[in-house]
Amino acid sequence: MVEKTEITLDELRHLISDRAVEGETVLLNMGPQHPSTHGVLRLLLELDGELVINCIPDVGFLHTGVEKNMEAKTYLKAAVMTDRLDYLNTVGNNLVYCLAIEKLVELEVPPRAQVVRVLLTELQRIASHLVWLGTHALDLAAMSVFLYCFREREFILDILEMCGGQRMMATYIRPGGLWRDVPGEFDPAVRQFLKILPARIDEYEAMLTKNPLFLERTRRIGVLSPENAIRWSVTGPSLRASGVNLDLRKAQPYSGYEQYDFDVPTHSDGDTYARYVVRIEEMRQSLRIVQQALDKLPNGPVRSNNRKFVPPPRSELGTSMEAVIHHFKLWTEGFPAPQGSVYVPVESPRGELGVYLEGDGGPKPLRVYWRTPSFLNLQILPLLSKGHLVADLVALIGTVDIVLGDVDR
């Protein structure tokens, strides 16, 4: 055993100012068990009174080694680990991983599955934004918004449970399509949700958008210029709130997003309030996509018929020997993917979620790399928080919208 050494300030010397060494400013630890850090984020703060001079994020408390684990599993079995990364965007994680596999092995996805995928990822986007809105408002002492947001989120989780059997981590999207078709009660449930939510979003807005307390806490707090946003690879609503119109659903459409009519909300202020406005508007736009997807949902199969990659449906196993063989082969040995690498990005609720997948000709991936938006968006927190009060730092942690499972992987 190597003797464990205490970490000393010398190692962080380049991150703090000279005044800290002289004892003029205070070094304060915040987190990882702090309710406003949205998980296990630890921050080392250098404070001058209540002003943040330096902020040093310390991540990794939720590191689970998903990338390493995925290398040890076949492509199909590794899919269940994708839900666990960004636990507020489980469907989106499944989607990007499946898109990467489908690109690597050139697998077709039937139209019905494509539409259901879009529908569910948009519902998931709304659910994720609802959690963000609720917790962000809670950080700024608006308790009731939190309760209302979680009430509506439960609707969406019920719909996801209806489809995949679980509220959050169902691995419903599989390579080549979906696990199974959506049930009969799916359509009326989503339609009811579409009827309810617009008025509910108006309610949230009535509580926050013109609330002087909320404005005071968010206006001109953590201003991010478009140049800095691009330099620091910030993506998603945070980038759009800085006035850069980049939405991968529009720019590089996947899963048939080019067939839907929706707007990409942007804002020019780049402050915490702008990010709030953009996310609220995104929820409305997602509702438009859900409505269109539901109206055009075509009939047909929900998974590819290519039995070299996609396991046969359960119902065939009792009657077809071929199906049993394919089932057995795919769930034990897996399918081989060619040598080569693909990088597939999608627009998650937090920004560009990308998967770099490299195959070596065998049934297990050589390398799976997750380019997660939370990881990169968190990187600008020191930049945003400089010169603000500690109380505003709480608002800033909320506004970059991080999920620690996504940061630490």
Partner: protein, 170 residues
């Protein structure tokens, strides 16, 4: 291939001896470690690849030469294009220059690669471990690093396994 991307690829081939390849419609360029900063600079300033989308490494162990590939994903917002860069790296004390000066976002990416693969970045401003504890030994995403597992304890061997099981016990 897109015209703009084509001109970028031919410029890099000419200047830095990059080798272009295409797989599933995605273009990637093989660049040597000493040229990576200049290549990124050229791509950002002359060919509008403003954003670094991702940066990671791949380990080809037991192959030693080159054992690692660094993979950079660049994104051009104005031209709506993507290009990958690959840097082969020897397995013996791997190190290469940082691209932090060109893309500041590489800071955490490179810390993560140092943490996970043990690849050093010369000139990096803050090369500490990021995901693993600071006193961790080894670099987990290397292929010669064992995955680790939990031994299943049954009633007949419970005590035996319990003895060697790594608990947080005093």
């Amino acid at each position: 291939m897109d015209d703009h991307l084509n001109s970028a690829v031919s410029a890099l081939t000419e200047r830095f001896g990059a080798e272009a390849s295409e797989f599933r419609g995605q273009v990637s360029l093989l660049v040597s470690a000493e040229n990576i900063v200049a290549a990124c600079q050229a791509l950002r300033d002359e060919f509008h690849f403003e954003m670094l989308s991702g940066e990671t490494a791949v380990d080809y162990w037991p192959q030693q030469e080159p054992r690692f590939h660094l993979v950079y994903q660049l994104h051009s917002l104005s031209r709506n294009l993507r290009v990958g860069l690959r840097v082969p790296l020897d397995g013996n004390a791997p190190s290469l220059p940082t691209i932090e000066g060109v893309y500041p976002a590489a800071n955490w990416h490179e810390r993560e690669i140092w943490d996970m693969f043990g690849i050093r970045f010369e000139g990096h401003s803050d090369l500490r471990r990021i995901l693993m504890p600071y006193d961790w030994e080894g670099h987990p995403l290397r292929k010669d690093y064992p995955l680790g597992y939990e031994e299943v304890q049954f009633s007949f061997n419970y005590a035996e396994i319990n003895q060697r099981k790594p608990y947080a016990k005093e």
